[in-house]
């Protein structure tokens, strides 16, 4: 039996695409395009939000010049850069060899292994923050407990901190703590990317190299790495964008404040606080656009860095 709609419910081919696209377009316009344009509009205005939408005043580039003079904005950018590098670089340095190892060493269990590494990526940030808050706890945390145990060992013990580390309240240890979480969370995602790329490298290349007498390491540096180049570009670009927009982990871990001495206040956390804690939506919008310019510039630089010479 053929299921058929009454003729008046059928869409003519001329209008069907519009009707079918409408749900996405409308949602995108409302939740994507509108906030984007609204924040651009706000960036040039001063606004006391509790007075209503009519209370906006045009201030030209004031918000931008304020942002550039604001010490805390620069501080938050430095924090962001520190965290992006400290969490981003190790992600790739670990993910590439790890993916290669998983690719070569596992056949049957590969998917299960990849799944295990990927799990943190799909876990809720709130759950992660709660888990790590207890792991990093000064008096009862497992991390300090492990350090205390390792301290007993000869040689290694001397290198470790001699007292319990106040991970989340001491400005010097908060950043490494956040970077560790971000690294742990996204390394699996990069492993998946690289594993997918590894599977596309033709095995004949390795066979030919073996015949020519190339060892494992030579094969890795002369075949694997160059073949991964496009995927490294993609992975690094995602890390740059994600790293510069880092918000959830530091926000939840520091109770939405940015931590002692604002050590965990990334640019994204700072602009959120500017809007919702300090009531300065104009400056917050200007900062978000400055951040966008930085993200765009760094993405372009990444692109330049990974461009092939013959391109």
């Amino acid at each position: 039996m053929r299921l058929s709609l009454p003729s008046f419910l059928r869409l003519s081919p001329r209008y069907a695409p519009y009707a079918l696209l409408a749900p996405f377009l409308v949602l995108f316009a409302v939740f994507g395009l509108f906030p984007l344009l609204f924040s651009l509009y706000l960036a040039f205005h001063s606004w006391e939000p509790t007075s209503g939408l009519g209370a906006m005043h045009w201030v030209g580039l004031d918000n931008f010049s304020f942002a550039l003079q604001d010490e805390w904005f620069w501080k938050s950018l430095r924090n962001t850069a520190w965290l992006a590098i400290a969490s981003g670089v190790p992600q790739h340095l670990v993910a590439i060899p790890l993916a290669t190892f998983l690719h070569l060493a596992f056949r049957r269990w590969r998917n299960a292994m990849v799944g295990a590494y990927f799990l943190p990526y799909i876990t809720s940030s709130v759950a992660i923050a709660i888990l790590f808050s207890s792991l990093f706890s000064t008096d009862y945390g497992l991390i300090n407990l492990a350090i205390a145990t390792l301290r007993e060992l000869p040689l290694l013990g001397a290198l470790l901190p001699q007292a319990a580390v106040d991970w989340l309240n001491d400005p010097d240890s908060l950043k490494p703590a956040i970077a560790t979480i971000v690294f742990w969370r996204y390394v699996g995602f990069n492993v998946v990317l690289y594993l997918a790329a590894l599977q596309t490298i033709p095995p004949d290349l390795y066979e030919a190299a073996t015949m020519d007498g190339a060892g494992r390491f030579q094969q890795f540096f002369h075949i694997t790495l160059p073949s991964l180049r496009p995927m490294i570009f993609f992975g690094v670009t995602l890390s740059v964008i994600g790293g510069l927009q880092l918000f959830e982990e530091p926000f939840i871990l520091t109770g939405g404040k940015g931590g002692s001495d604002q050590a965990g206040m990334t640019a994204a956390v700072y602009l959120y606080r500017n809007a919702f804690d300090f009531n300065d939506f104009g400056a917050a919008s200007a900062m978000s656009w400055l951040l966008f310019l930085i993200v765009a510039a760094l993405t372009w630089l990444t692109h330049r860095a990974f461009r092939r010479k013959d391109d």
């Binding site: 509790t50 007075s51 209503g52 304020f66």
Partner: protein, 446 residues
Amino acid sequence: MRRWVQRLSAMVLTLAAGSIGALAAGPAAGGSPDGASAPPPAAGGSGRTPGSTLTLTVAAFPAIDEIVRAALPAWRLRHPDVEVKVLNREVNDHHTAMTTALSTAKGLPDVMALEIGYLGRFAQGTGLEDLSKPPYVLGRDRDRFVRYAFDQATTPQGAIVAVPTDIGPGTLLYRTDLLARAGLTEADLTTSWEGFVTAGVKIKAATGAYLLAHARDMKDILIRTGLQPGEGLYFDEQSRPLVTTPRFVRAFELAKAVRRQQLDARVTAWSADWTEGFKRGGIATQMSGAWLAGHLNTWLAPDTRGRWRAAQLPEGAFAAYGGTFFAMARLGDPSRKAMAYEFIRFMTLDRDQQLAAFKSQDAFPALTDAQTDAFFDQPLPFLGGQSARRDWREAAGRIRAFPVHKQDAFAREVIDTELDKVLDRDKDIPTALADAQRLLQLRARR
């Protein structure tokens, strides 16, 4: 004909998708700035016709929601045809929701509770109804309220944007048993701030207990004392930062003295260690609103009953710790404003309601009329039979309001950060305050 139907169905689909999107985005996308083009009141919600009921929405946070709910039976006796719906949110979420509602004029409650920390911020704008004007003319009732609380709700331009309902007169709660073991009396704590710190050294030596939960508490109270007329906490009338004045220098120096002599437990209020400190007698004193005595009694440290006493703050300081207000939105539904105001008056100017809130939730009445009740003379078993409510009443009358500045929240954060650097990393106090001054100068006129 068929083509038309097809076009129509395509349009219906598009519109349906559109309206779902618009509904979901309601607060962000809609809203008229001046309320002039606001749609007429929807049927059922307002626009009373004889025999129908009117529903007021009150947005609150714990425990104000409970106070309001407890008042409803008495309210219904007076207004059987007016229903009251209470919305309750966590305190920060509540104020964020009110900011959003005011900025877009969507989803506004008829009555909103505001905490003092946020009232200053909200009063900067024009989102709240000015109750000094007719038909309200709240100024007539000025003398019926505790003076400082009413002043806090009055803007420099003379607008009255909220009505105080409860206040938090500051008090010094101390462990009388620990003091006795150290051979000290109340006067040793309260004569001067320097004496307070010296007493702390003796308490630590004799009992091992800390004087304070955190050295920051010392700074917080000291910057609130000795304000010159017209001065705000962090800024003067011309928006000039005041953080390098002697008031801040002394506050920082005393906080540092507390930390240097290891007299603070380094725990923040409401943390598990803070609670534990009270339970085990590890913290000898706490400066706070009078309401803290109630919290200690009911859940923080009920087993320490009888060992606490309350004193006025040292060196004749009088300060407020917290306070709640009721306000109405300027762009709220006009047809319900009169009744909403009636409800606010019922909660704030009715002696019985104010007393009921005090008895059940330790919400100290802002209505002076309610402060003459015999309840104020009753001894408090938790404080060893002391009639502390009289002292708190006296303190409430002596607190003075100071002007708020829209950058107060930021200034507080900057000062706390610099104090942390002084306490934890031995940053030099003049440098710390100069750094704070520079940050505040840039932001003061925004």
